[in-house]
Symmetry: C2
Subunit: 351 residues, 2 copies
């Protein structure tokens, strides 16, 4: 029987159980996939803790949004896909209804996407949520254009790195923030023109210095809380601030006077909303497919865990040591991971 990750109550990583379980057949509009790799997201941490925008409807609950693998079975009323095809999932469903942490998963066919053939399944499971988040924030809402400056906070997350890559493709001046100096070099390597270490430097002062006093045109933020006031101070006249995360637990004070003075726009954004705009979603998917194909968008995988070590993987993600994506593999063994930690993304090809 396939392994499925479930939890019976909200809580720490310890609540996660890897259980052997029969999986239901796909219903109308659904498909069953054999999962190769799973990309981990903070959304899943918050969902496990019962602190997400949505809370589990019932227990045991499953979780997980991003997977890549092979179609095993197709439910009624699904067209355009075939059994045996390689696909990834877009996070356009609710974890109250579906979860991809397991050897197999039933997902809505609407969430399937084909990916460029040169990607490994680990890469294919790592690029869509971060890519869609960055595309939606910078291109769709922020309308970032060549020569503009963009501030990307908490930039070493997978969404932050995707934002750096997309902003570079646009031709923008990329300013990344990171809490400590540890990841500064990696951010420069990932494409940031400038890195601000928030524990040591004043964000607004540095952004103004970099932009010759003008401020940043687009500000892409995963933090919230006290960061929002700093963003407003660092913003240019008419800037677009995109808030997509809640890393901070502080109260988010809206700097109304500064916002009025600068005519700022603040978008609270999550890609789940893309469901409501099919035309925009199609544009986003095409953009990301093209950028993955031409190499301007690349998966940055920090570390891979076996499915059995899902609790360790969550603990690691919560420890904030990672740079890029943390991945679960259903096919790698502990031995694989110990032998060639850096080659894991190529596992699929080797088998």
């Amino acid at each position: 029987m396939p392994r499925i990750v479930q939890f019976y109550e909200p809580g720490s990583p310890d609540v996660l159980r890897v259980e052997d379980r029969a999986v239901r057949k796909p219903l109308a509009g659904e498909v069953l996939i054999a999962v190769d790799a799973i990309g981990l997201n903070r959304a899943e941490i918050a969902f496990r803790q019962g602190r997400y925008l949505e809370i589990p409807e019932k227990f045991p609950a499953s979780l997980g949004l991003e997977a890549a693998g092979t179609i095993l079975e197709i439910g009624p009323d699904v067209s355009g896909f075939e059994v045996g095809e390689q696909v990834a999932t877009l996070p356009v469903f609710s974890m109250r209804e579906y979860g991809v942490y397991g050897d197999v998963a039933v997902v809505p066919a609407d969430a399937l996407i084909r990916y460029p053939k040169h990607l490994t399944t680990a890469e294919a499971a790592s690029v869509w949520m971060s890519g869609l988040t960055a595309y939606g924030g910078l291109i769709y809402l922020g309308k970032l254009s060549e020569g503009q400056s963009v501030l990307i906070t908490a930039a070493s997350s997978s969404a932050g790195i995707a934002a750096i890559q997309i902003a570079r493709w646009v031709g923008a001046i990329v300013i990344a923030t990171t809490r400590t100096g540890i990841k500064k070099r990696q951010l420069i390597e990932a494409g940031a023109h400038h890195v601000i270490v928030t524990a040591e430097e004043d964000v607004a002062a540095r952004v103004k210095q970099i932009t010759s006093g003008a401020g940043a045109d687009v500000l892409f933020d995963a933090v919230g809380g006290g960061m929002v006031g700093k963003l407003a101070n660092a913003a240019a006249l008419g800037a677009q601030i995109i808030l997509y995360g809640t890393l901070s637990t502080e109260l988010t004070v809206f700097p109304l006077l500064t916002a009025l003075r600068k005519c700022l726009t603040v978008h609270a954004y999550r890609i789940f909303s893309m469901r409501r705009f099919p035309a925009e979603r199609e544009k986003a998917e095409r953009f990301l497919f093209d950028r993955l194909s031409d190499g301007s968008l690349r998966a940055v995988i920090d570390r891979t865990f076996t499915l059995d070590k899902v609790a360790d993987a969550h603990r690691y993600l919560e420890s904030n040591q990672h740079f890029g994506k943390v991945v679960l593999s259903t096919r790698a063994t502990e031995a694989d991971i110990k032998e060639k930690p850096s080659d894991l993304t190529k596992l699929k090809e080797q088998r």
Copy 2:
């Protein structure tokens, strides 16, 4: 010598002085107008108090944004206007540089606008700032469309009334809020479909009831502070919140989780920013001219004061008793105002 209103220090209405003063000639790009009527704005109260987005550059300072009158003299490099023409001013300049409280005023030619001939000068001095604010908020940023619902807070201000009229023209469902029940009937007469008395009713609960649970699509707010959390609760999925005022002195807490859950967009808006978008400004002016011409946008004048009573006029505006615009007239006398308080908007024609 013409009377000019000035103040020598920030403070209460008592700091306002009506002084006889020679006025400089218009420089390049400027015109001198004979002011007939002046529309009062909260921006001027805040500017007088030294609490506005901009503070006076030097003292004595002049003030005032909206006037209507006749062109007396045209400076160099101005085309398209003639001496003797009837014009109004758009608030697209800074009070640090120009002010219209007086018998005459030098203003940038860029701020001049012609208005439909059926308007009195009091009406012409009353409709542009409120109209531009409402247009910019509801049409340009909010993209309000037929059948959508719009929530308008502090709706008995001139901007609120203009918003009600414009939203009715669009074909939206108009929900107005007012602090107490006193102005409820007037708001219904002004075009609101529903009125929420914020001191007695729960804004979000009432909006949800009116919109069958969906929430308001566009929310147009002059209050800020604690109102913003209520707006987020009253908002529909993907709603546009336009913040254009700071009536509240409370801290504005941004309801980040609710905003993310609903994918809300918050625009901090002031029409001064229209300067940066000439094409948008032209569209706005044409829209307002057309709506004034067809009668869907009408000046609602609460009360007129003589120029000498400018301090009383400010006190009255600050007392929040008004419904619509408070106007200063340079030509009316105390006797005029006592005799026919309701006919004052027609003064121009009678003379």
